[in-house]
């Protein structure tokens, strides 16, 4: 059932390519025509090169150098040490390697939990707000606020809320509700991981909500009617109509959310300052600390490249698996 109805939105390239309506509009190709597309593309390509490709290549080059403060001014003097940086940072018997691995697990747990909760909140809110009712627009706008707020302002507010002595969280939990006798720490120790997770979910779920809400607009009402006639209840409709219809949206949404959270720098940086507690030592912060605070840009780059490779493998595997499944269905 699902596959037969996904045609209108599942693959957007198809209808456009085969659209017969456009043919008469096409004008004969002149030199001006053929130049325009490239002109239009040029700024994007230049920017893409300048912002993504070149820095990435430079990063890979840096990871092969012993680039410390002695050589930072003139890179040509930095000794080429091949894979030594990788050996040093990925050596799991050394202190640096162990910390990187620890940081990797923390980041993985953080990303999976954060994406999971953000998606769960997003789908719940999107489903609840699917049918029109009074005040729906207000609720929608309200739900989107965390996403609209500037990261720094929002996360600094959280860090104030979470302070042990003067924070609102402890004021409510300890002073007003009396749930705990001791004032717990939220920004250091074991709790710091959960604080970071809460802030991250709070920041990310509106995006999931937005995407899923848009995806739900495309689910034809007849499907629900048909399901209702077949006697399907709320959960059955959710499982057999809503979720399958949202599959294309979910595919992209989960991947994007995962990559964003895995690379998240702003949230931990603003929440904890330059050095995060061990329990919340996300990999981006870890790399920042390794390169900027200890002025060892070579090994910082080596970690970044290793991270890039990992994310590439994860993304490729994810796309491969999900694509194959889609093919199987079709």
């Amino acid at each position: 059932m699902a596959t037969s109805t996904t045609a209108p939105d599942a693959d957007q390239r198809e209808p456009r390519a085969g659209s017969p309506a456009r043919k008469p509009v096409r004008r004969p190709r002149g030199p001006r025509r053929s130049l325009l597309p490239y002109l239009l593309l040029a700024p994007a390509i230049v920017l893409e090169l300048a912002i993504h490709v070149i820095p990435m290549v430079v990063g890979v080059w840096m990871s092969l150098l012993e680039l410390t403060q002695f050589h930072i001014r003139d890179w040509s003097t930095a000794p080429f040490i091949g894979l030594e940086n990788y050996r040093a940072t990925l050596d799991l018997n050394s202190a640096a390697g162990k910390e990187l691995l620890h940081s990797f697990w923390v980041t993985l747990a953080y990303s999976l939990l954060s994406v999971g909760f953000a998606w769960l909140l997003g789908i719940s809110a999107a489903v609840v707000l699917q049918r029109p009712f009074r005040g729906r627009a207000i609720l929608r706008a309200l739900f989107l606020t965390p996403y609209a707020l500037p990261v720094y302002a929002a996360v600094i507010t959280w860090s104030f809320l979470l302070q042990r002595d003067t924070g609102l969280v402890n004021h409510v939990l300890v002073d007003q509700l009396g749930l705990m006798n001791d004032r717990p720490f939220w920004l250091i120790g074991d709790n710091s991981f959960w604080s970071l997770l809460v802030v991250s979910v709070w920041r990310n779920w509106p995006f999931a909500f937005l995407c899923l809400m848009a995806g739900l607009q495309n689910v034809p009402g007849e499907l629900y009617e048909a399901a209702a006639i077949d006697g399907a209840g709320f959960w059955r409709r959710l499982r057999s109509v809503t979720l399958p219809m949202l599959r294309p949206v979910n595919l992209v949404l989960l991947l994007v959310l995962f990559l964003w959270t895995f690379n998240d720098f702003n949230t931990p940086f603003v929440l904890f300052g330059g050095s995060a507690p061990e329990q919340a030592d996300l990999i981006s912060i870890h790399i920042y600390r390794s390169s900027f605070k200890t002025w060892d840009f070579g090994s910082g780059s080596a970690m970044s490249v290793a991270l890039l490779l990992f994310l590439l493998v994860v993304s490729a595997a994810y796309l491969l698996i999900t694509n194959r499944r889609r093919d199987d269905h079709a």
Binding site: A44, Q69, R73, Q163, D165, S275, T294, W295, D296
Partner: protein, 432 residues
């Protein structure tokens, strides 16, 4: 809108976007011989306050030389990174303030103008400068990488009323006394000692002093790190124990990194504070100068063999000139201006620090109790932090290890010789 219009419009938007992207990467360094760019460190109560303090002096300099100085006050949390970026890119300001402990680290980048005898002569002469301050301006045996601007040292600030209420008549002179007094003072929601526990730099400064008193060193004579020696372990444990064992420091201080410890002292929440030139900061927080006393930082009652009589680092701010400046003469004359007797008196008086030139130090402005204590410490019992290229890395690694130990202490985990040693060993392994 027709398709053609749409195409042109899109192209225009993209072109504009690419232009704005390019516009951001300007060259800060002044091209004209009549201008200079200056990054000042944050010495006053706020960045704005610093601008207000410095602007009249810069105007004076412009009147004298015709050189216009554009100042930007950079917060401490960003300063080292921005200096590093400027050193790496060869772009940025002409003249900068640097924390004097970074001198050797930044010197190693080779981006700073060397103050050899000729350059020192150009800014007023080597003999004018306080020797201890000059010793903290670069690696030994090399021409200094900077010129001392403001001098400071750690002192013990104590709340007179809290001391009187607890029946304590004189400030502590040993750490044992400090712990004992601290216990008397830690009652009724108030605490004995305030500590900036999550600030790696502050932690590292104390690591240095305590290590000296226990006879330790952070680097050996060859410049190799010696972080986890028994002396250093005892030193760090002594400092963390104010929270972990003596319990004279509020566990919350393990979170402090934005000078909250100074606020706690100013508000009477803590009775003692170890800080450099806290006076001007306390004043802005409405703590009058007669409400607190200033004493030298304590020593160990019975120092172990090899223990040194050091109770502060030679703290201070140096002024450096980037080699990439297109106006070196102007930059040097600006350094000369800022280190002149007149400017030294005006600026140090405002900031509560001490002049780095001998001739200005005798000014009556620097005979207040706070300045006298700082002066005495600097002359007799202060030592410069190790002037090695890895100094800034030491501050980060050891300071962060201490931050984690404070977090352990705050959450009730035991802090033992072993746990301290493990942290220091880890930190040392991260040095290359």
């Amino acid at each position: 809108m027709s398709r053609r219009h749409l195409g042109i419009f899109t192209a225009a938007v993209l072109a504009a976007a690419s232009l704005t992207a390019c516009g951001g990467s300007g060259d800060d360094s002044a091209a004209s011989p009549k201008t200079l760019t200056y990054w000042a460190s944050n010495q006053g109560a706020s960045l704005e306050a610093d601008k207000t303090i410095l602007q009249p002096e810069l105007d004076k300099f412009e009147k004298q030389t015709g050189i216009k100085v554009t100042v930007e006050v950079v917060p401490w949390s960003d300063l080292l990174n921005r200096l590093l970026a400027a050193a790496a890119s060869g772009k940025g300001p002409d003249v900068v303030n640097i924390g004097n402990t970074w001198s050797a680290s930044l010197q190693a980048t080779g981006a700073l103008v060397e103050f050899d005898d000729a350059a020192l002569q150009a800014v007023g002469g080597k003999d004018r400068i306080v020797p201890a301050a000059l010793a903290a301006a670069g690696a030994p045996g090399k021409p200094p990488a900077a010129v001392p601007l403001y001098s400071m040292a750690y002192s013990l600030y104590y709340n007179k009323k809290s001391f009187a209420d607890a029946g304590i008549t004189a400030p502590p002179t040993t750490w044992e006394q400090l712990a004992e007094y601290g216990k008397k003072l830690s009652t009724g929601g108030k605490w004995g000692l305030a500590i900036e526990g999550a600030n790696p730099s502050e932690n590292a400064h104390h690591a240095f002093t305590f290590s000296q008193q226990y006879g330790g060193e952070w680097f050996d004579s060859a410049g190799k790190p010696t972080f986890d020696t028994p002396q250093n372990v005892s030193a760090i444990k002594r400092y963390i124990d104010f929270m972990a064992a003596d319990k004279i420091t509020n566990p919350s201080n393990a979170e402090y990194a934005q000078n909250q410890s100074v606020s706690d002292f100013a508000n009477g929440k803590a009775a003692m504070l170890l800080w450099q030139s806290a006076g001007s900061n306390l004043k802005t927080q409405n703590m009058p100068a007669d409400a607190y006393g200033v004493a030298p930082v304590p020593f160990l009652a019975s120092p172990p063999a090899g223990g040194k009589k050091v109770n502060s680092m030679v703290a201070g701010i140096n002024m450096a000139v980037f080699k990439h400046t297109k106006n070196k003469d102007g930059a040097l004359s600006f350094v000369k201006f800022m280190t002149s007797d007149e400017e030294q008196t005006i600026l140090n008086k405002t900031y509560g620090s001490l002049p780095a030139v001998k001739t200005a130090a005798s000014d009556p402005a620097f005979t207040a109790p706070e300045q006298k204590t700082i002066q005495e410490t600097l002359v007799t019992t202060a030592a410069p932090l190790p002037q090695v290229p890895e100094e800034s890395t030491f501050e980060t690694l050891v300071g962060t290890a201490m931050k984690e130990l404070f977090a352990d202490a705050a959450s009730g985990k035991p802090v033992t010789e072993e746990s301290v040693k493990a942290k220091l060993t880890d930190a040392q392994q991260k040095m290359r």
